[in-house]
């Protein structure tokens, strides 16, 4: 099957007042049509930066992006302003983490959706409004006609996120980027929005990249997963095999620190000691080595190329013995 998104050797560097920040280094991603990829990692691991790069949303004068990004057959990094605008919102759309911040507060939700439809389909404002209504129904917002004229602050958190999804899907994008879309919501609303997203993704045959730090959510929605640490993808593969049999010590640690349904009541969650590294220098060795229980001398040497076996990949010097150790020791959620 054709890949709708291909990322090759993506590196993103930010210029800050304290020097360069190497936010993302050497990321490769493939997303097939109609599939969902979960991008997992803790805060600052480069998930959101990677996502924003797919739409080239970083401020250009403070950001250096290297590598190659192809979305729906277009080379994103070489597109001109107009062509980039045509791609954004039409071929690839994004659902943001905090809908309260992602909506313009002084325009009604209906107007904002209609504006995007008019922009990409060149239709009349009225046709845009009609599409907005259709989308609001599609994301199951109660009394959608009334909600069209609501301002973002007049909606509840869950409804706002549904409206955000309606906006993102209004031009039938081929790829949907969801940047922790449920993190800002109440637990009960989280699962509704999650199920809605999965349903829409399947119904519309979209591809989706889903950023989360919640392993349970990843298992729920994704086909594939990529685990990020300190700006690199350290493990990648089908979500069920990666989650049941993690290879990389970081993935193992992440799973060890996660609650799962059939967990033993007495069991304690094991935290990963230490903190992620600062990214003010380009880390060429394994960035996880200082926190890794299996680290040895050679982990401080520059990282070897990714180890690929079948449909899985991991970047650890001590593979496959570490993966073997884990299989015997770690209990994982199913």
């Amino acid at each position: 099957m054709a890949n709708i998104v291909e990322v090759r050797d993506l590196s993103v560097t930010f210029k800050t007042s304290e020097g360069l920040v190497y936010a993302v280094s050497g990321v490769n991603l493939d997303l097939a049509e109609g599939k969902t990829l979960a991008l997992i990692g803790e805060s600052g691991s480069g998930k959101s930066v990677t996502m924003k790069s797919l739409m080239r949303l970083h401020p250009p004068h403070k950001t250096a992006i290297a590598g190659q990004i192809t979305v729906a057959g277009q080379d994103v990094l070489s597109l001109g302003g107009k062509a980039l605008g045509d791609l954004r919102g039409k071929e690839i759309a994004m659902v943001f983490q905090e809908p309260m911040l992602a909506f313009d507060p002084v325009f009604t939700v209906g107007d904002q959706i209609a504006e995007v439809v008019v922009r990409h389909e060149g239709c009349s404002y009225q046709a845009g409004r009609d599409r907005a209504l259709e989308m609001m129904e599609c994301v199951q917002i109660p009394s959608p006609r009334k909600r069209l004229d609501a301002y973002p602050h007049e909606m509840s958190g869950g409804m706002r996120q549904r409206a955000m999804i309606a906006l993102a899907l209004s031009c039938r994008p081929k790829v949907l980027l969801a940047d922790e879309p449920t993190t800002a919501l109440d637990a009960t609303v989280q699962i509704q929005v999650l199920l809605l997203l999965r349903q829409l993704q399947r119904d519309l045959g979209m591809s989706m990249i889903f950023v989360t730090h919640d392993v349970g959510v990843a298992i729920e929605v994704a086909d594939e997963t990529a685990v990020m640490y300190a700006g690199r993808i350290i493990e990648q593969g089908p979500v069920d095999t990666v989650m049941t049999n993690p290879w990389h010590p970081y993935t193992q640690g992440l799973l060890g620190a996660t609650v799962y349904p059939d967990m033993d009541r007495e069991a304690r969650l094991v935290a990963i000691p230490g903190a992620p590294p600062q990214l003010y220098r380009q880390i060429t060795e394994c960035a996880f080595a200082p926190r890794c229980p299996h680290a040895v001398e050679e982990c401080l040497q520059p990282l070897p190329p990714p180890m690929v076996m079948g449909d899985r990949m991991a970047r650890c010097v001590r593979l496959p013995e570490v993966a073997q150790l884990a299989e015997n020791a770690v209990t994982t959620p199913s």
Binding site: L57, L84, G85, L101, V106
Partner: protein, 311 residues
């Protein structure tokens, strides 16, 4: 919306009343006898008594206040001590000149302020930003009577391009040259303040998540600018309203430097001649304009930002 406006108008009444009290008491708080300018120093006691009675100054202060206020509401601000003409007529004549000057200065100041502020926000940190921010800083820091004198020296005395005194007479085109120097002088402060407000408001908005979200929707820069403008409008309007109020009321120095026949010039004369009714009348009129302007800006803000209506 309608309810909000009504409520806002009702709130204005106590403010206006308080302003009137302050205007009235100024005269009695100022050192010296308010009637000393009218009464000759060697007047016999019975003449003094007659004059005091004629001005109603023998009655208790609250009674004086309400009778003054009652007449003021009907448009009767008393008679000027210096000229013997009705204060209301004096003020309405001067008000026109002041309005023209304030409008011209506001137009210049706001136009350049918005332009400079937007440029600075979009090109933050680059040389054009620094240049514009420097001009804005100059605008708010420089004393404008000094700037007025400087402009007179350059454009009237040295180059002899523009007149430096009065408001001229005849058709609009004949009078226009008289307006240029005072308007430019007065525009510097609002220009500087509006530049700074627009720069900080717009640059904050440009860094906000919703602008990223607008970009992610594929909207053009023009459309995004529309969104940013509507978001920036309430705070910029608030500052502009305040500045326009200052332009109306605070032009004493500039009007005096240019002998511009406006309320500031009139006020300056009234202060030196201790023309109490005129003084009270001008201060009251300008204050009421300020109050009305604030009301207008408040209502305007709600048109741009729906969130204000609720709180």
């Amino acid at each position: 919306m309608f309810l909000y406006i009504c409520r806002r108008i009702v709130y204005t009444v106590p403010i206006a009343l308080a302003v009137a009290v302050v205007c009235f008491s100024l005269v009695h708080l100022a050192p010296g006898d308010p009637l000393s300018a009218v009464i000759p120093a060697d007047a016999p006691a019975e003449v003094v008594e007659r004059i005091v009675k004629a001005y109603g100054m023998d009655r208790p202060l609250p009674v004086q206040f309400f009778s003054w206020l009652g007449r003021a509401i009907q448009g009767d601000l008393g008679v000027s001590v210096a000229t013997g003409r009705p204060v209301a007529a004096e003020i309405s004549r001067a008000l026109g000149s002041t309005f023209i000057l304030a409008f011209a200065a506001a137009l210049l100041g706001f136009l350049f302020g918005i332009l400079f502020g937007t440029i600075a926000a979009f090109l933050q940190g680059r040389w054009s930003d620094r240049l514009v921010t420097g001009i804005a800083l100059f605008g708010v820091s420089v004393p404008h009577y000094w700037l007025g004198l400087l402009l007179v020296i350059i454009f009237s005395v040295q180059l002899d391009w523009l007149p430096s005194l009065g408001a001229g007479s005849g058709s609009f085109m004949d009078r226009f040259p008289y307006l240029i120097l005072p308007a430019v002088t007065m525009s510097f402060i609002p220009m500087g303040i509006v530049t700074r407000t627009v720069r900080s408001t717009v640059s904050e908005l440009l860094g906000s998540e919703f602008v990223t979200s607008l970009r992610a929707r594929g909207l053009s820069n023009v459309s995004i600018a529309k969104h940013v403008a509507k978001n920036a409008a309430p705070s910029v309007l608030a500052v502009m309203g305040l500045q326009f109020g200052y332009l109306l009321g605070g032009s004493i120095l500039v009007e005096t430097v240019f002998s511009w026949p406006g309320t500031g010039y009139l006020l300056n004369g009234a202060i030196f001649q201790r023309d109490i009714p005129l003084l009270q009348g001008i201060i009251l009129t300008l204050s009421m304009f300020f109050v009305a302007l604030n009301l207008f800006v408040d209502v305007l803000q709600t048109l741009f930002d729906p969130r204000i209506r609720r709180s």
